[in-house]
Amino acid sequence: MVLVFPAIAVLISMGIYAVLTQKNMIRIIIGISIVESAIILLLGAIAYIPEGVAPILDQPYDTVVDPLPQALGLTAVVINASTTAIMLALVIKLYNRYQTLDIHEIRKLRG
């Protein structure tokens, strides 16, 4: 339980570092995906209760983990997939227009 939080912090930091420093647009999208995966992991970690079982009650259990963040995590997965698809489509459009994936080149060509 305590060990999950450093992993989440490291993943979010890694994703934002990739967004800040990389030049290739595909790598920036990979960084954003890492941040989104870290947030799904955070939702799973918040829901956890010590010695809780999964919220599928085929027989009465004593302690059950919180089912509400897990339902929210399902929503997050769906929105993650949709935003990634739209970002990739925009990258394909940009590549067809400028013939490059480097984000600095695209900024130079603007003026």
Partner: protein
């Protein structure tokens, strides 16, 4: 007790394979390491499902196996031919 020991050994194998994922000289080495780690973690899921006596972990393992198969196959197809831009960026 023995199942805990089994899980620890399989996780140790996955940790050794993780070295190849970090320092593969080529992309295909990393994909092979991903395949190995995926199947080891699938086995861990199956052992946990048998340990807690709940059949629902096996469903999760099945879906995980399907998605791992599709992932690795798509990556094997995508990296199957040399691409100029890929090498220039590295």
């Amino acid at each position: 007790m023995q199942l805990t020991f089994l899980i620890l050994i399989v996780l140790f194998c996955a940790a050794i394979s993780f070295y190849r994922l970090l320092s593969g000289p080529h992309v295909l080495d990393r994909i092979a390491a991903i395949n190995a780690i995926g199947i080891m973690l699938l086995t861990v899921l199956v052992i946990l499902g048998s340990f807690y006596e709940r059949a629902l972990f096996i469903d999760v393992a099945l879906v995980y196996g399907v998605l791992l198969f599709v992932d690795v196959l798509v990556m094997a197809k995508y990296f199957g031919s040399p691409d100029k831009t890929e090498e220039e960026n590295q």
